[in-house]
Symmetry: C2
Subunit: 483 residues, 2 copies
């Protein structure tokens, strides 16, 4: 397939491509700027196969991601919120020597070159280099790391084909119109945000980019009719509704709120409907290149609690069903990543007879709607971020003073869920709450640091000695917090 | 990919799939009927790899086509208007033993079984057979014959992937909305009609099927708001506009008139715009599985005479350019047929370095809009049908009385163009106009029979003896018609 960006610049040169704050770029303008940046990047990363980009949702970072793609190099997208230790692991795994980063990113990383966007943009350009002519659907264009329930983060390799079929699956579900503008406040370093960028190129659609979840500013935009679609996590939906004056309805141009990162409740749905919002709940992950299951607004109330039906190119099955038809959720889809970088066997192990095992448990009703029981691995979904207890536990276990630690998610009004920890100290040693928090802040992204640390004399375990996480929340009432 | 029909019955069971006259079927209902028919068909064509369907645009034929597909057999679509001789050639070429046909189709063909739809529907069903689980994108699902400028008709083999990418390319150009209903009056045995059927499955879109081009009935439907899209040839557009009372505008729900089979003129375009019609001109052929180039309404007047720009998955180039950048129009597209049945070398010969040579000449302007100069092979586009002079000439050349014949297209108010013939008789022999017409009617589809037969003493020829077709129209004024 022809290079999507240059193709779009040909097909829809004067159509809005991206708006950030007051800056609007058409596809022709965006293409010009991206080709300029690509030429600059080539001068500092000529021989690199992969370039890492560290950015918040701002225009320079947006263009930088596209520029890496224009060079035919793989974009390694780094979560802006990770600690230096976490980022270094990913950079090393991906063999990264060149990192381009937000002007206000200040961590020192273990690579040859850390170059700010400002420095890239200052590189003199004499002659523009040629972008790649084609986007080979089998070629890996992006890598983003996902923490698993066990072991190190895995670099999920996404091809152009994965992004293409993801965009098409979404289009066949939500429809596409030339007037569509998709608001991106979910991070562009996550698949939720990157997939909006790729849809923009494929559809010829405008993106309205927001750096921060400023609930007022976003509500104002949704009321203005300037955007038609937004991707949100449940926390955002709740905050948008709270901020909306009673009786106010969103603009009729605004047609879809795509909700990922967990289901929502009936009350919230009803409030959304009253405000004229069509909420499309969805389910997907980095490995599936965004949503693969979606629940349309028409069925939202009738099928409350369901994640919906598989998108047109996607198949879902429940394997290893118990007597109530509950079992493991497995997926076939042309959007499935082609592998974990450097860990082919680990990715292969997630497949069963050609079906990708999501790690989630669930069931299908008679009409084919999927219901998710929960994550096999006790993943915590906190403010749109996936947090895995195993990872947090393994970090804290490095402290001599800690004898045992178990982490579990508990519901939280603001974030949906937050991790909390149950700790037993080594005899004769102890740490204060502040010391535990400081250690966590040094080693982990802030949202992974447990919100509360409880003293635990003993942890509930199975016969074989495995901690029974699901029993932990019941201990909170009888436990004291570490001072 | 999962079977599109059963998938749609799962995803959009209650959505309109097809309406014919007063009968409306949802996807669930249509799937039920099609599976029933597939089971009946299996009983008369169990071991056939291919089944031929001869039908006008009516519901039974529509369901029959889908039923063949559900069995995993290849549909051979026969032009309802061909003569028995022409059909027999195609059936033999495709190795067809079973033909299912309109109840009012009465030609006798050289096959084992000719079964009317009524006979198929009368076959008792005890247990439904299982449809194919998957639609393999590489599998040939349809074959339709196209006459070339030379030689015998060629069976164009279209895969599921061809139809899928065609539908996606169209969606990325025209947009898709859940409320879309596409009016199909172009023949479903041609790619223009079959592609609407395939889009319906892929998009979950309703089709409004019309058997005949009843200009009143179709205008009434377009005015009602019940359809959003229609495919037409230029003759239909002209007639619809003529029939429309002055000052009338089509319903606002009606959003696209997709025009194929030749460009239109500025006056017609302006009349269409005044009637609220967004005309999207397009260019495609059987080998490209429908439109590959399209001109959006926004550019229609500014780029009058252009066929538009290549759709998102499509690339176009002008090969062998002359000093004015005119040359051969060549195409790359995932919609390109995988071959001509039994004539792989003939198909391979239409490619140059991986590019499909359309046989048309043209040029690209600086903005990438394609202009078509004309068919290298003097094809006549008559009422949406492609007519090739060589074929007509070779049929008439069989008559002893005819010494020489040359056919060329001339403009016609009703059909866009019609073939006319210039004839010289063998010494001492001659035929009347009526005898020539009768012979033509026996041997050819009626639209291929020359509208006029002129006496020609001598035909204009090149030095090498080839008839100069482009000079023929100038001879009409000075020629007498055969009585």
């Amino acid at each position: 397939m022809e290079n999507w960006l240059t193709k779009r610049a040909q097909l829809s040169p004067d159509h809005l491509a991206v708006q950030y704050q007051e800056t609007k770029l058409t596809f022709a303008q965006m293409n010009d700027q991206v080709q300029h940046i690509a030429t600059q990047l080539a001068q500092i990363a000529q021989n690199e196969e992969r370039i890492a980009v560290i950015t918040s949702n701002q225009l320079q970072g947006y263009l930088m991601i596209l520029a890496v793609q224009q060079l035919g190099k793989t974009i390694v997208l780094i979560n802006r919120r990770l600690s230096a230790r976490e980022i270094d692991f990913q950079l090393k795994d991906a063999g990264i020597q060149v990192v381009v980063q937000d002007n206000d990113f200040h961590l020192t990383l273990s690579v040859n070159k850390q170059v700010s966007f400002a420095e890239v943009l200052a590189i003199p350009v004499t002659e523009l280099i040629n972008p790649v002519a084609d986007f080979d659907l089998n070629k890996v264009t992006s890598i983003m790391y996902t923490s698993g329930t066990t072991g190190n983060p895995k670099g999920v390799m996404q091809t152009f084909g994965n992004h293409f079929y993801s965009a098409i699956g979404s289009a066949l579900n939500l429809g596409i119109m030339t007037e569509d503008v998709w608001l991106a406040v979910v991070p562009i370093f996550h698949i939720s945000g990157l997939s909006i960028m790729m849809r923009s190129l494929i559809y010829g659609m405008g993106v309205r980019l927001f750096e921060k979840f400023d609930v007022h500013a976003i509500n104002k935009t949704l009321l203005s009719g300037e955007v038609t679609t937004i991707s949100v996590v449940p926390m955002m939906l709740t905050q948008l509704l709270s901020d909306l004056p009673a009786g106010t309805r969103y603009h009729k141009n605004f047609r879809t709120m795509l909700l990922g990162g967990g289901p929502t409740d009936l009350t919230t749905l009803q409030r959304a409907t009253a405000a004229g919002i069509e909420v499309v709940q969805s389910y997907g992950m980095t490995e599936t290149a965004s949503q693969v299951i979606a629940l349309d607004a028409a069925n939202a109330q009738r099928k409350i609690g369901s994640a919906g039906k598989p998108l047109f190119p996607v198949s879902v099955r429940i394997a290893h069903q118990d007597e109530n038809r509950h079992g493991r959720i497995q997926i076939k889809s042309p959007t499935l990543a082609v592998g974990y970088l450097n860990q082919p066997e680990k990715y292969a192990n997630t497949f069963e007879n050609g079906w990708f095992d999501t790690g989630d448990m669930g069931w299908l009703d008679d009409e084919g709607f999927l219901y998710i029981d929960g994550r096999e691995g006790d993943m915590i979904s906190s403010g749109g971020e996936n947090v895995f207890p195993d990872e947090i536990e393994s970090i804290f276990a490095k402290l001599d003073a800690i004898k045992q630690i178990a982490v579990v998610g508990v519901p939280d009004e603001k974030w949906g869920a937050v991790p909390v920890a149950f700790v037993t100290f080594t005899d004769g040693k102890s740490l204060s709450r502040q010391e535990l928090r400081n250690f966590g802040r040094d080693m982990l992204a802030h949202y992974k640091v447990p919100a509360h640390f409880y003293n635990a004399s003993e942890l509930p375990r199975t016969a074989s000695g495995k901690v029974q996480r699901h029993k932990l929340p019941h201990l909170i009432a009888e436990s004291s917090e570490i001072k």
